[in-house]
Assembly symmetry: C2
Homo-oligomer: 217 residues x 2
Amino acid sequence: MSEGKTPEPTLVTWHQAEVQRARGAVLWFTGLSGSGKSTIANAVDQRLHQLERASFVLDGDNVRLGLNPSYERLLPDYGDDFARRFGLGFGVLDRQENVRRIGAVAELFCSAGLIAITAFISPFREDRDRVRRQIEANGAPGDFLEIYVQTPLEVCQARDPKGLYRQALRGEIKNFTGIDSPYEEPLNPEITLKTAEASVEDLAQQVVGYLKACGKT
Amino acid sequence: MSEGKTPEPTLVTWHQAEVQRARGAVLWFTGLSGSGKSTIANAVDQRLHQLERASFVLDGDNVRLGLNPSYERLLPDYGDDFARRFGLGFGVLDRQENVRRIGAVAELFCSAGLIAITAFISPFREDRDRVRRQIEANGAPGDFLEIYVQTPLEVCQARDPKGLYRQALRGEIKNFTGIDSPYEEPLNPEITLKTAEASVEDLAQQVVGYLKACGKT
């Protein structure tokens, strides 16, 4: 970069020296609120860590605070105009954008060679399929694994770990998946986890076994 | 997760089993268009890869296509309403949001233990400082390194690798940093790279040496 005779060729050479990494994968957990997505996702993350396979969980805790904040969260630092324009709520378009961005970040982690693990309800088939198409287009089929956490609605409601079903049934939360907004089951998920029939340990092992079988660990 | 006597404690136990990772760092390159940010960023990435230190470059190529797409890019898949609401242009608020999201993703990579390397003009001090505050708040001082790629404007203009300065001078691009939009130099960057005085190899080594000295490699 010093101003010698041929700065441009030097630049070009270095651009060609970009690191070539083996792609990781995206484990896209989907299921009702309270179905066990985060619990199993974290158990898978733990197993992969023990296997020294780099991975990372994207979930509500780290995404709604940073990547996809609400109006209220943006307001103090960015002001009203900005927060109105970019704050994410729970309307139809907002939810699409929420899933789209999570997919884009999962894709970046996959490009970096990690196993990206997402744990969001992501109730709509079209949204999930769009993420799949994008990730497969940048990589290959097999990079995106849809994992359906199949827990009956009545079990999720009885469990209700955050009290959200109770609030939704009282009408205090609108458009709540399973109550007054639909959940579209995956048609051809790579993995279905029947949570009523196995322990968390076994379910996590089922996912890790699948990854091993396709050479992703 | 099977319906036994004490499903809740099992969930809690598994939530506590979240992987504790050492944080990585964020190398935030800033400088004029054509200053050499991407070139040096990729050289640093390459060195870290050789040292077997996990890292990843976020730059225009992988961010404008996925995480932060324009109206035009969103339109075919998402339709007009969605693309109007969420497509990012080059207005003041759009640029703020662009930097904000990149900062949030860099933070996620840092949480995952990687060295996240960003290479964007990011001309405004306030935007960079906000990212610094967020990353340090979630981690510690030292997690965010501002790296000023100090190349004189006339050198960048003479180099003009993408022909952008020529377009801006003809008025075909508006709000172009250094032409009709300001670049605010960092006041206290952790590292300043004087590109007129050293080779790309030496500059990359300067960054990696700094990381070694603070125990980040």
